[in-house]
Symmetry: C2
Subunit: 210 residues, 2 copies
């Protein structure tokens, strides 16, 4: 198995989204040029990205939408559902919980935790917010595979340590801090302030970063 | 002025955060090793990133925390406040509106818009949600510099086109779609589902992407 870069995997996610849009409007085929345009890349890059995973499409014919859709869903591990826990029942946690795109892609939030007893017991959809004392036991009982961290920065590392200890290998972090995880645990950060600061930099310096 | 990559600018944001933490605990100096460790990079990379902007620190002495803090705030354009508008008063918009980190870094949301008349007029802090018909006029009147898009995917491009037409040069997009902007307009995407899909890929393939 080749090592695939994080940016390649990100582009595959975008190609998948465009393929779904194409399928929704009844398109049978899609060209690498169209995928490239939507993904903000070149058609050579599209062909290279896809070539890691097999031989798709015919020269001059484009890609079969249903075929490539299926292949990408398979490659990205989206032909199944994922058991997700959310730690942090604040504003960000609440927005993520009701984010339709997660559910649509098979990421099912099965448990929500908070350390604030005032929030514990609140009904969120079919769930109740649980105290984060229950986190360790719940991870195993619910077979949680991915944990989303939406707690304040100062609490985040403690939560991550417990989650890793509990056997979880994939973490999506929304807390505005860098977290340490051991090798073999995948961590992604969504850092909204960093993105805004990048925009501020661009305005001040007048040059869009490459 | 050299062209600085987007990933360099992202690292500068992270260094800034660690410097603020160091300042909060009363540290006078910080080493490139410490900045590297917190930023998930190497001390050589830290020195290279900072060298684009001048000469900081003394060999063997580390960096002066207040000096580098000031320099990074200056480089990133954070010695001033920014006039921000938010389009989309749904769950994500609401979470972003009350996200303390934005305000703390000088990103002031001055106006909130939605196309849903049921939401228009609702009090959000000191503001009232405005109908997005008012968007074009308000951008100029309020001197908006950065727009945050938190509308559904299918509405996002239309909003962006109006915002660009209204003279805004910096856009932070939370809608799960790729947007087109003309040259000279900076666009950042925060794509939460893409990050989750990256984690799913990692679990399925057992190799953390590089």
């Amino acid at each position: 198995m080749k090592k695939i870069s994080e940016s390649t995997v990100r582009r595959l996610s975008l190609y998948l989204r465009f393929l779904q849009e194409a399928a929704d409007r009844g398109a049978d085929t899609i060209s690498s040029e169209e995928l490239a345009r939507r993904g903000g890349t070149t058609s050579a890059q599209v062909r290279k990205d896809l070539s890691f995973f097999g031989s798709f499409g015919k020269r001059g014919m484009g890609y079969s939408v249903p075929e490539l859709l299926h292949a990408l869903r398979d490659i990205l591990g989206l032909t199944r559902t994922w058991r997700v826990a959310l730690v942090g029942a604040g504003k960000i946690g609440s927005a993520l919980f009701s984010y339709r795109d997660f559910q649509r892609r098979g990421f099912n939030i099965r448990a929500v935790f908070d350390s604030d007893r005032a929030k514990v017991g609140a009904a969120w959809g079919d769930l109740r917010v649980r105290h984060d004392e229950e986190l360790d036991r719940a991870l195993a009982e619910d077979g949680i595979e991915i944990v989303i961290i939406a707690v304040p920065a100062e609490a985040a590392q403690g939560v991550v340590d417990r989650v890793v200890q509990g056997g979880v290998r994939a973490i999506l972090n929304f807390a505005p801090t860098r977290l340490k995880v051991p090798a073999g645990v995948a961590l992604r950060n969504v850092d909204m302030t960093v993105e805004l600061e990048g925009l501020a930099y661009t305005i001040v310096n007048g040059i869009p970063p490459t």
